[in-house]
Amino acid sequence: MTRHLPWIVIAMVGAAALSFVALARGEAINALWIVVAAVSCFLVAYRYYALYIARHVMRLDPSRPTPAIRRADGLDYVATDRTVLFGHHFAAIAGAGPLVGPVLAAQMGYLPGTLWIIFGVVLAGAVQDFMVLFISMRRDGKSLGELIRMEMGQTAGTIALFGAFMIMVIILAVLALIVVKALAESPWGMFTVAATVPLALFMGAYTRWIRPGRIGEVSLIGLVGLLAAIVYGQAIAASPVWGPLFTFTPVQLCWILIGYGAVASVLPVWLLLAPRDYLSTFLKIGAIAALAIGIVIMAPPLKMPAVTVFAAGNGPVWAGGLFPFLFITIACGAVSGFHALISSGTTPKLIASEAHAPIIGYGAMLMEAFVAIMALVGASILDPGVYFTMNSPAAVIGKDAASAAAAVTAMGFPITPDLIVQTAKDVGEHTIISRAGGAPTLAVAMAEIFSHVVGGPAMKAFWYHFAILFEALFILTAVDAGTRAGRFMLQDLIALAAPGFKDSKSHAPGIIATALCVAAWGFFLYQGVTDPLGGVNTLWPVFGISNQMLAAIALMLSTAVLFRMKRQRFAWVTMIPTAWLLICTLSAGFLKLFSSDVKVGFLAHAAKFRAAAASGEVLAPAKDMAEMNRIIFNDRIDAGLVAIFLAVVLAILFFTIRTCVAALQAPAPTAREIPPVMVPAE
């Protein structure tokens, strides 16, 4: 009993804080209530639920050799210290997703997002990461596609691989879109981000020839360069000569990014990708830690209401009601299918003992949920007027301060044109109107928090551009690394039909696959950039649906494996989150296809434009018939994409049920684990 006492106290603190957050009405509550509620819930969930899963569902066996022991090679398979591996895994899973989704979800108020992050991660997200890590760890660290093939058959594996490639394309397009939204018409931001390219090239040359392998040293040099770029960026932006050279429209930036992606992904990795990854990884960890400390020191009150009028749907940031769209808008942070690729990637090859799996698999995901909570807090400490000015599309609120202030005030969030102009001036930007995509909003919030702790209001512009740089840096790294990964996925897929395509000796397949991959995400990026509703509006839900579907696939694999292990008694652990994700994604996908609301349904939107085009009418935002036809074409592509995702997830559901039924009929366990006998390392 006494060993449970501290946990009971934590649980009571968490319950008290959570009910205070949920029930407080009328006056602004302090952000720390949310932080305390989240942290206590996470601690209790780890101590009881994660260990329950470890002991009873998985029956982890610390004496069973992990891949790092069995196949130790000092390179890919290395038994790694638990805390070191935690850092490795966390750095791999945490990216832009947990920072952007919660910011967008804040349009419904802070409460729905907070509750979904806390319950979602405890019951679904962390369970998924943990289960996939467990399954891969017992199978020599094989990847998600291979695991599905092993346990559910060849066809299911190929379908999943295809789904994963499509998801990669959407993720890259959405990430690139966020960068476009953050850097358009922002010479200061553009200069600092552009400066990272020569800086990274220098760092690459340094680690290649001058001081090979000195990662820490070169990262410090890079950091100094980055800070200098932010400081000088202000003067560059203000210069009449240089300022316009670094000012780009969204469409120009879109083409720059597509060109960049194509070139960067065929350069040698040591030249640009690796050094920029050092910068972005360390900056990311540092900024996340600083944000946590900043929130605790500042203890800001939340200005966003707990629940806004937009919880009913029809919000300006993204269309659709709380169910199901909140649950796909916050994907990373609550449950992210992409993590299944990481948990079946390098981590299972590095884990030293099965006993470490709970803290790595479940614990690191809780940490990411904490990042998501901080992003939500960041968006909610801003004046709601500022939040909606930044995140509503120009088609809704216009392009100047007067029209934006009037429109946002009419939404019920009073703001003056002066405040809009002043906020832009404080952070050193020309405008903050319609800077959707989450990154600029979060950057304003981070500038608020950091300048409170260091530097005061005078430092706000510096911190804003620091935050933009930190987000753009790791998004660009992800675009580059993702294009390379997408290329190999595509080569594997094409090789199923044309076996010669996998040949790594000739350059042609690689170049063709890279070009196809860039063209695929470039298409969606261009579509998003030219979308009159801002693109994020259209692409983020598609991204959310695809990411949650991958999560559903990973959880279905986990369910099938539990059945094949003859542990179906415990399969509710994965079946409950699977059911919830299937309900959310299938209904969201269905609405995206067939909703009669033109703001939600792609086909309804296409039909409206087609009817207008047939009668020779041009509907805003299209300016001529060609644009009308492009909008109709884009709608159909988006609808087709959502239909593909639905088909993929339903196919996997079919294979899962078939596998589970077969496993129930089999007299003995059929899961294909590596038997627990010790094989001496080579």
Partner: protein
């Protein structure tokens, strides 16, 4: 304290996919004494290529 700093350094390098060179040397000495291990620079380049070559599924959103 120095143990803590050593661990921090190890963790930071591991975050960017760079495993411990000394552990690799130990592994080669214990299991493949007949083979010549890669030197520090070769090891660094080999691991860089392996992490970023694209076969690792990239990073998360």
């Amino acid at each position: 304290m120095s143990l803590f700093l050593e661990k921090l350094r190890h963790a930071a390098r591991m975050m960017v996919g760079m495993p411990d060179y000394d552990a690799y040397l130990r592994h080669m000495r214990d299991h493949h004494p007949e083979q010549e291990p890669m030197d520090r620079v070769q090891f660094f380049r080999d691991r860089q290529e392996s992490r970023y070559g694209g076969k690792n599924g990239g990073k998360c959103c």
